[in-house]
């Protein structure tokens, strides 16, 4: 069966069909991400003071990934324009660049960013025990500066067995810079460059800990929404890359030779999806990395 109106416009809508289809799909996508973003807003507004972490993500890496996604949006629109001008070779190269950008984005996420989180440890201290850890938390300093209280000690967990072994009575943590030197005014605000855990080791009694975990979704509302939203976004990037690979393979050249405008329309529709994925990231990046 021939699918109608892939190239020519349908008289009643004034559009070829796939364009209406993709916009209806994007409308549903807006609702999908809208639900998650509104959950984020709700969780964040209701977070008690000190319970919404700042500066835990790597800003230069996030900025780089943002730039990569923007550049891929440019290359995909250039690929489409190349097809419109009937320059298949240029199209092929722009498409390859787009695919590579998507692959780099996903690789950075899955090989670097997420595993680094899984390897990072945080322990929320019980309210009554906060005073015992003042040397790591610097809450007097924070209160004097009008900063939110620090309730958590973070860093690299040396004795990982402590997470599951009830016989181990304390966590040995190589402290993050903010906990190693909490009254240093330089630690009042998050840094642009990632600062790895220091050599300074703190022993945190399990008795004093309210809740301790690696930086997994269960760590906090922050990480739960971070992994959900960036995970869903990542799956969209993966979907886009797979579609682009199909359009880049020789099988699509056959379509180009038969009807170049049909391929151009396919690329336009896939491109619309890709720009939408870019658009989502434009909001994800500041909300999770910067604010």
């Amino acid at each position: 069966m021939e699918i109608p109106y892939t190239v020519s416009t349908r008289p009643d809508t004034g559009l070829w069909n796939a364009k209406v289809g993709i916009w209806l799909f994007l409308a549903s996508e807006v609702m999908l991400f809208g639900g998650l973003f509104s959950a984020y807003i709700f969780l964040r507004l209701d977070a008690p003071p000190g319970m919404w972490p700042h500066g835990l993500l790597n800003v230069p890496v996030g900025t780089m990934n943002t730039a990569i996604l923007i550049m891929s949006s440019v290359t995909v629109v250039l690929a489409w324009a190349a097809l419109k001008m009937r320059r298949y070779r240029a199209y092929w190269w722009y498409m390859l660049a787009t695919i590579l950008c998507g692959v780099i984005f996903l690789t950075v996420k899955l090989v670097y960013e997420w595993p680094q989180k899984f390897d990072h440890f945080g322990a929320y201290i019980k309210p009554e025990a906060l005073g015992n850890y003042e040397q790591y938390l610097g809450n007097e300093h924070a209160a004097a500066k009008g900063l939110p209280p620090r309730l958590e000690i973070t860093g690299h967990l040396h004795n990982r067995a402590a997470l599951n072994d009830p016989n181990i009575k304390d966590y040995e943590v190589a402290l993050d810079p903010v906990n190693a030197d909490p009254i240093n005014p330089a630690m009042d605000r998050p840094h642009f460059f990632y600062m790895p855990p220091t050599d300074k080791i703190a022993k945190i009694e399990k008795e004093d800990v309210q809740y301790a975990t690696m930086f997994l979704p269960k760590h906090s509302a922050y990480f739960a929404s971070y992994f959900t939203i960036t995970g869903l976004h990542g799956m969209h990037v993966l979907g886009g890359v797979l579609v682009f690979i199909y359009m880049w393979l020789p099988v699509s050249k056959k379509l180009y030779q038969r009807n170049p405008e049909h391929l151009a329309n396919r690329v336009e529709v896939a491109g619309l999806f890709w720009h939408f994925v870019d658009l989502i990231w434009i909001f994800v990046f500041p909300l999770f990395y910067l604010l």
């Binding site: 730039a67 324009a81 009937r86 720009h275 434009i282 990046f285």
Partner: protein, 114 residues
């Protein structure tokens, strides 16, 4: 910025058409450069203390909305699109607004930290 017109079937008009698309390509590159610049600005502004965190959030969201507007208007061709698409988007906007509105109503039902 208008979108390139559909390709003419007439080969005589084709050369003029290709030239026309070429002009748009320059626009796309400029928008890409603008988006990269705005990204740098967002990052830089997040390290400026605007007095309250809420102010920083507002500034960052303002820049992000500008960027999203550029992507939607130019890359997604919404600056000049057919009426049906706008109609779909008006519906979407209405329901998204409702979604966020419900969240705020729920938030005011829980006067815990505000």
């Amino acid at each position: 910025m208008n979108n390139p017109p559909d390709v003419s079937q007439d080969p005589k008009e084709y050369e003029e058409y290709a030239h026309n698309v070429q002009k748009h390509v320059r626009g796309y590159l400029m928008v890409g450069a603008l988006l990269l610049a705005f990204t740098a600005i967002t990052v830089a502004l997040s390290y400026v203390d605007f007095g309250a965190r809420k102010a920083n959030v507002a500034v960052a969201m303002f820049v992000a909305t500008l960027k999203a507007g550029l992507v939607a208007a130019i890359f997604m061709h919404l600056a000049a699109e057919k009426r049906l698409i706008y109609r779909i988007l008006i519906f979407t906007g209405f329901f998204v607004f409702g979604l966020f509105w419900l969240i705020f109503l729920a938030w005011y039902d829980y006067p815990v930290f505000h």
